[in-house]
Symmetry: C2
Subunit: 421 residues, 2 copies
């Protein structure tokens, strides 16, 4: 694929003109003068979200009032959106719900995994995850084992060490991010799940940086649990509710501890004891934020209209282009690629370490090239094929090197640390 | 107060004309032809919510994109809204956050209470709550003790039995709803908290049907934890995020198990181990749904502009009026008042049991008098002084008796059971 990459800006314009995904860009309300390379943190606004928000606010809430729980389908929305999302995850209907946050859904998954092991193999009391995983995944596991206080523990594996070395007979569950939030490195889900299963553990996948970005085949991989986020590559809106998938073979095997009334078999019978509903619904807990949830559908519908194979192909082409353009101009600038070059191991963002990464990113953002910065030293560029093209990548790299060549980052306003999410 | 109640519809019109809270009605977008008596389930839409939604969608999400986490104050919103809400709860700044759901916040509170007792009095392993409590409160407690699997249990007290009888030396925490969702009965928070403390337990209050409806003084009562909902009397929108209050004396004593990155001392340092931030922030978990959360402020600002003493006075006057009008016409209709007559024991809704309660409520809703139905047999009428007046109560009771006198409820379309939230 390297051979066919554009080598001039005109090449980029020509490539974009014949891009079969080009038509999706108009679905997003991107501001003028911005090249948005942070869709892996917060996807941009689908244009259809305005009409949806007005409908939910004025018709459903304003006029429908309490009746909308039935008439507008609010109560069914977590499952209806989950069924739509399933198509992007290699999952089936009735296997996914959109609800709560990724952190909470990870808690439910890990709790369920420990519960299964408590009966099957009570000596298995270790949750394995990566030191380089998105921190909340580690924190939720820590909170759980600390609260249980029964000899459970969290084992962190370090980058570059083989997972297998951590998979002893004491391991109950392995929680991994399919695509690493910082480096963009991707696990082989099928092979890794098999290794986890061979070791007698259960595999929990965090798809936050994978869903909508790379092809995912949860059923094909035989995974046990998966959670993820709708506000990154799925463009659901700031903090929109997360999702959870549970392999059908596990769904009815336990009762997850965040057992709120939305997961009850008969939530409106107001019974005085919990009885979980059959199926994925038992992973629901409390009443969901309907306006934020309704907007998830806008982004989801755009992703579902695109061919995921074409999205993946374009993503790799654009990340290849980014890497090759930096390589062509980057000697001596101190940029170190931290994203794998191998396609099979790369998600949909490109990251570089640089000692002045923070200031460089601020200088880029100030001129409308919006990526983000992650400790330590990492410049992160999200490549989202639904609304980016080769020319965007070209112009972004051009801006980056203007800033590097002329040390434009070395200014007080760019070096001052603000909180950056 | 009974003596001064209106006895004709003209009296009602006159009383409404001189009502000092009358000006708040225009703040809400209530549909024509509807008398809305279900604000205790889902508050109506504040008119300002349209502009707020447009701002969050178009400016903050659309144009600000990822930058809005800082520039639009998204990251601080749970605490900023919590500080505003504190004024309605008898709490101080830094004691409340708006986040997650009531169910989840109850889980955090109970987990924290058990954790405190684990160190102070490890023999205390019982969570006491009411059989008639809102079911999710029971279910969350059940999920927790089941998951802990260390001899913890839930003890349900029955209506009419004295709480003290359940408060043995084995009780760790008592979780009560300040106002009961079904009956509208209200606990004396100060006296009950004292009794709980005398018994060596911690008091966790669910304010779902109290916040914004009745004066609440958490600090004055010396309560330990409180949780509640923003979409009922606070008019935050369907499923808007809930809140949690923790008495300052407890905030830093433990680490609650839903320990997501938003509760970390340095969330953006991406550290590989959890260290809770000092204060109420450690009760945050994952990324919040910003659109639904931003709308909470619209309803909150209306409540904060009203005098809670005047709200309470009008609420009691309207519920008194409802009760007296039903009493004047209700003989032989089978309506049984289940809400306490004593003001000090009454929240802000009125409930009646009737064997045909479901069909009667459907008939009422069909003619625009929207209350709701709760199993078993209960017709529930929420009385919300910010947008209801004496005339609304008069007309609602009038419609109720037209339906009862003429058995209009006895029609197939009203008897067919739909799911009603």
């Amino acid at each position: 694929m390297e051979a066919t990459l554009p080598t001039t800006r005109d090449d980029c314009l020509a490539a974009d003109a014949s891009d079969p995904l080009r038509r999706f860009r108009k679905e997003f309300a991107l501001p003028e003068g911005v090249i948005y390379l942070d869709g892996n943190s917060l996807g941009p606004r689908p244009r259809s979200s305005s009409a949806t928000a007005t409908r939910v606010l004025e018709q459903e809430w304003g006029t429908g009032l309490i009746r909308s729980w039935n008439t507008a389908g609010w109560f069914e929305l977590p499952g209806r959106l989950g069924d739509k999302l399933a198509a992007l995850l290699g999952a089936g209907p009735g296997e996914v719900v959109v609800t709560d946050t990724t952190s909470l859904n990870l808690f439910k998954s890990l709790a369920a995994a420990l519960r299964i092991q408590r009966e099957a193999a009570p000596e298995r009391k270790v949750i394995v995850t990566e030191r380089d995983n998105f921190p909340t995944d580690i924190y939720m596991a820590e909170g759980m084992v600390d609260f249980l206080d029964q000899g459970y523990s969290v084992r962190l594996i370090d980058e570059g060490l083989p997972l297998e070395a951590a998979l002893g007979g004491d391991v109950a569950a392995v929680a991994l991010s399919h695509v690493n939030y910082r480096t963009g490195a991707m696990w082989d889900m099928a092979a890794t799940t098999s290794a986890v299963h061979r070791a007698g553990a259960l595999a929990v996948w965090d798809l936050a940086h994978a869903a909508g970005a790379v092809p995912v085949d949860l059923r094909g991989a035989g995974a046990d649990f998966a959670v993820g986020c709708t506000y990154k590559y799925l463009n659901g809106g700031p903090g929109s509710p997360a999702f959870i998938w549970v392999n059908a073979r596990h769904q009815d095997r336990f009762w997850q501890p965040l057992s709120g009334w939305w997961g009850h078999a008969r939530p409106f019978a107001m019974e005085d004891s919990y009885e979980p509903v059959t199926g994925i619904g038992r992973f629901l807990c409390g009443t969901q934020p309907m306006l934020s949830m309704a907007l998830v559908e806008c982004g989801l519908d755009v992703s579902l209209a695109a061919d995921m194979g074409a999205v993946r192909e374009k993503s790799l082409r654009l990340t290849d282009l980014f890497i090759s353009l930096v390589e062509a101009r980057g000697a001596g600038h101190g940029l170190e690629l931290v994203t794998p070059r191998e396609h099979a191991r790369r998600g949909s963002h490109v990251s570089y370490a640089h000692p002045e990464g923070y200031a460089i990113m601020q200088a880029l953002i100030a001129r409308g090239v919006i990526g983000d910065y992650r400790e330590p030293h990492v410049l992160r560029f999200g490549i989202t094929p639904l609304y980016l093209g080769c020319t965007d990548v070209w112009d972004a790299v051009d801006a980056l090197f203007d800033i590097l060549d002329n040390r434009l980052w070395d200014a007080p306003e760019f070096r001052e640390r603000l909180q950056v999410t």
